[in-house]
Structure formats: C-alpha cells, structure tokens
Symmetry: C2
Subunit: 333 residues, 2 copies
C-alpha cells in the first residue's frame, strides 16, 4: 500500500465554512481512501456538522478559536499565531503534513506561508499557478499575482516550476511552455521578456518544450499548456478572461431565453446546455498553487462549494504523489 | 451647412483591399453626405471597382504604385515615402485632410504617423484607444499597445485623452475613468499606478469622474467607461478577452448544434441567436484611434469587411466633428 498523504486543511476560510470544507473532505474521501486530513478550526462547530460517512480514523481536528477573516489585511492576519490558517501552515513547516490547503484570505495565506516556509534554494520569487481550460485540455498559467515585478530569472524559474506542476497533475502529457507577450516576433515586448526568451530558447536542458511567445488570444488554443507571465499581467489576464466569460454567458442567456421561442428552444436543448456547463464548470478548475516554497500550498477559491473544495483536495493528492517539490528541486539544479 | 469633413483614406491596407475600402466608403456615403474622401492607392485598381452610387464630387483618387505590405517591418515600411499609407498621413500633416484612416500594417502606421505628425504639447507618449462592449454600452480602453512602458504622467494623460475621445464619440454620456489594476485597494499594484491614482484622485479639475481602480473582471460591468492601462497590459487584456469570447462561442456552438436536438432548437431560436450576434458584432467596435498626435489617426482592423470599414469612417466623422484634438489640447492645459 502507498504511504498515506497527510493534508493540513484550514477549515475556517472562505464563504460558508467550515460546512463546505467538511463536506468537501467527505466528498473527496468517498473516492480517495489514502488520505489523512488534519483539520484546523473550531472543534465545536466542526463536530456539529461531521457527516457519518467520514470514519474517525481518516481525520483529526486541531482546535482553534481564532481564524483569519476575509476582511483582515495580510499583515494584521500574520500577527495572529493561533488562527486555523497559521496553524495549518505551521504543520507543513513541522513536516506533520505533506501539503496545506485553505479557501481563506489570499493575501494572508501568501504572507503567512512566506513567513513560515523557506523558499526552494535558487528560487527568488514565488508564483501562484492556476488551471485554465484550453481547446485540448488544461493549461497551467503562472504567475497569477504573487510576484508583480519579475526579472528574467524569475520567468525562467516559473517555466521550470510550472512544467513540474503540469507533469504532476497530468503525468501522461508533455509540458509545452510559452511566454505571454504582445506579439509573436522576437523583437516584441519588454526587455525582461526578451531576455527570458533568449535563455529558454538557447538551452536543451529543460524538461519541457519551449514554444516562444504567445498572445492573449492564443492562451486557450491548446498549442502550449504552461503559460508564463509576471504576476500583474497574469492576474489581469485571468480576471479579464473570467469577466468576458461571465459577460458572454449572461448576455447569451438573456437573449436566448428572453421570449417564448427562446424558452422552448432552451428546453429542447437542455442536455447540450448542461453538457456545456459541465465541461466549463469553474469548480473543475478550482485550486491555485503557490510555487517556490519548499512545501506545497494550495489556495481554493473562497466562493467555491464543497465540490470545488473536493477538487482542490484531488489536486493536493496529485501534487504530493507526483513529488512536485522534489521535481522542482531537481530541475532547478 | 456644416463644413465638409475630409478623410484621407489609405485604400491599399488590410485584407481584400482596395475592394473593401471602396465598398466601405460607398456604404458610409449613403448615410453621410458631409464627407469628402481623399483616396490614396492604385488608380487603375480602384477605378475598376468604383460603384456607380458614389458621385465623383465626393472623392478624389491620389494615385500611387506603392503600398505597405502586412509583412513589412515598421522600419522598412517607413523608408518608402510614396506608399498609399505614407501619402495619406502626409496629407493630414499638410492639413489637406482632417483625419487619416488605414486598415493596413499597424506597426508601420504607428511609425509613419509618429515620424510625420507632431505630438500634442505636454503629451509625451501616444496611446492606442479601442472600443470595448460593456453591460450598458461601450468602453474606451487605452493603451492597447502603442506605449509599452508608461510613467504616471502618461497614465494621467491617457485619462484626459480617453475622456475627450469618449465625449467626442458619445456626446450625451459622461466619461468615468478607472485604472486597471489587480485589486481595488489603494495599496495594490505597481508604484506607477499608485502615483497615477494619487494624481487623479486629488484633483477636481479633470473633465471626468475618477472611479479609482478596477480589476479585469470589472472591465465590462459598465460602471466605468474609460479604462486606463499601459500598452502591454492593455494589449494582453484585449487579446485575452477576444480569445475567451471566441473560445466560448465556438465551444458553445459545437455543443449546441452537435446533435439533432441541438439543431432543431437552434432553428427555433434563430432570431434570438441573430440578435445576439448583431449586438456583439465585432464590426460595430471596429476602429482604434492613435491618440497624442496633433492630428487624429484611425486604425481599422485588417480583417474587417466593408461594413466594419464603414463603421470606422463613422468614427472618423465623430472625431472630427467632436473637435477631439482641440478638446485634448484644452484639457491638457
């Protein structure tokens, strides 16, 4: 039997917690028995909602009265050393857990993780990596906002870390890296981007294929699957894509069901509509990974539900069983 | 009667030119008689396709054998002084025309325009401004790629120029400016953005309302209508939005018509589908304006058709009759 994976779970972060976190754990456990959940949060609140389908041997509750609120500033949150978030991170620091996950305050999670966990040797800046659908499957995009200003070395490091993450999550596929730019010609873009391009283009020692530059409209074409950019640009791109997707589906829904013909036609087409919704369900892409630290830290969306949280737990499992941190260390050397 | 507006038209740029340009002029002329078209291009080619509905009194052909190709580098294109693009720009320089429009090579258009036309006093960098649909109407977004690195002064200038353009295009609405950032709190983002925020937030002397920061997912919510960003971020955001919109509509179409139920339902709903297509027809948003030069330069998409080109001509008309350049000069002072 495989060694059990221990996940440190901040049960108190995000909307509708701890209920969605506990239900997410229960949902995840039904298909994954090889995990032990260290649950950090309010004992009383959690015990009240524990499902009977979750055996006591698969989890442990570490009680804490304190939690980081969504409205806390990262720095004020980092002052409290007995919040569920701090203690969950502390447990991976002490090697009591293999990975930590929270659906709470993103800024606080970054600051507390950076305060407690060491950076991997030779990596200077962390990156937040997220999943993004493309025509053939899924992209990893990084950085989504952890490091606003990036040097060429940071971008090269992001390529290495992003490829290692891609390999851990999709072991049967090959990572193909591209740098997000405003043109595909070598002369386009910032100096920093051009220098990163040169480094990535001039060596065959990387564990990925380098596809050069892509533009924003090529992120989803599936030709590259690890997309590299600085944290400012990546965050704007991700949120612009989310905004555009919401805008179109909302407007389309209004138009399509705005009159009787629309309503009838939507009824006939309900199965196709549901298939579409299923394929692009944001819960499938829930979970971003803070890379660069010597323990893996996973951020679930605050507004996701228990199914989204369960999907992030699946991601945790793949990251640990795929030996992500070891893979990054080997590639950086 | 109003003074006639003279538009210098590069007839040879973009896909399927000069046919789409001449048909675009003809289409535009049918609803706008107050315009004179100075058409720069190959006399013989143009004469062959001139529609009989276009009276000879409303245009003039200035013959040239040369044209800028889509594949020319901007610098090599700028060496040819008798291309249709160069001569069209030269005619606004000489005040023989009020505005110039081209559907040709974007990089070449920028370089030739910057070589020939002066910057407006006190404006250091140009910006490319484009139209973007939002929930209540239309946004102006700038810069979309003319100036990759921007100072806080550049961003403030973009706010002034973008608002003046908004007023020229939508005279009954009020410009509401926002800076694109990765969070709405004052502490988020680059130093340059924060300084621009301070300037815009501390003065009541601007001819627009300042709404602070917005994130990528708020671009289309309609609360702000002049969105300010540097040329790198703006270009990535625009193309990511285009890519996302294309991806969703393509995938949705595949899902919705992939089987018999889908096909029947699409037939029933054809009117709604067509209304949706009409509202977000990219041809409605065709035309970007290079701001900062002391004459207006309009770039039509290369791949648009004659209706899209005709819409850009409408934009030219509004820019000239709305006294855009004068408005910018007054606001900058």
């Amino acid at each position: 039997m495989l060694k059990k994976i221990t996940v440190a779970v901040d049960a108190m972060g995000g909307d509708n917690s701890p209920l969605k976190v506990i239900n997410g754990i229960n949902h995840h456990f039904q298909t994954n028995k090889n995990i032990f959940y260290k649950i950090f949060g309010n004992n009383e609140e959690i015990k009240k909602i524990l499902p009977t389908t979750l055996p006591e041997t698969c989890f442990e509750i570490i009680h804490t009265n304190e939690k980081v609120k969504g409205t806390d500033s990262p720095l004020s949150a980092a002052r409290g050393k007995d919040t569920s978030m701090w203690l969950a991170i502390d447990s991976v620091k002490k090697k009591d857990a293999d990975i930590v996950i929270s659906a709470g305050n993103t800024g606080a999670l970054f600051v507390i993780a950076k305060l407690n966990l060491k950076m991997i040797e030779n990596i200077d800046k962390p990156a937040l990596a997220g999943l993004w659908p493309n025509q053939n499957g899924t992209n990893i995009v990084l950085d989504l906002g952890a490091s606003i200003d990036c040097s060429e070395k940071n971008l090269v490091d992001f390529s290495i870390m992003g490829s290692a993450l891609f390999k851990a999550l999709f072991p049967t596929e090959d990572p193909k890296v591209a740098i997000l730019n405003i043109g595909s010609e070598e002369i386009k873009g910032h100096e920093i981007i051009k220098k990163a391009y040169e480094v990535l283009n001039s060596s065959n020692n990387f564990n990925f294929k380098f596809n050069g530059y892509i533009e924003g409209n090529q992120i989803m074409d599936g030709l590259s699957n690890v997309i590299i950019t600085d944290g400012f640009t990546g965050n704007v791109a991700l949120k612009t894509a989310e905004g555009t997707a919401n805008f179109i589906t909302k407007e389309l829904k209004k138009t399509m069901t705005g009159n009787l013909f629309g309503k009838i036609s939507s009824l006939i087409n309900i199965k196709n509509i549901n298939n579409f919704k299923k394929r692009f369900d944001p819960r499938l892409y829930n979970g971003a990974i803070l890379l660069g630290l010597d323990s893996p830290v996973v951020k679930s969306h605050g507004y996701t539900d228990y199914i989204g949280f369960s999907n992030s737990l699946k991601m945790c499992e793949k990251i640990v069983s795929g030996n992500l941190i070891e893979k990054i260390k080997q590639s950086i050397d």
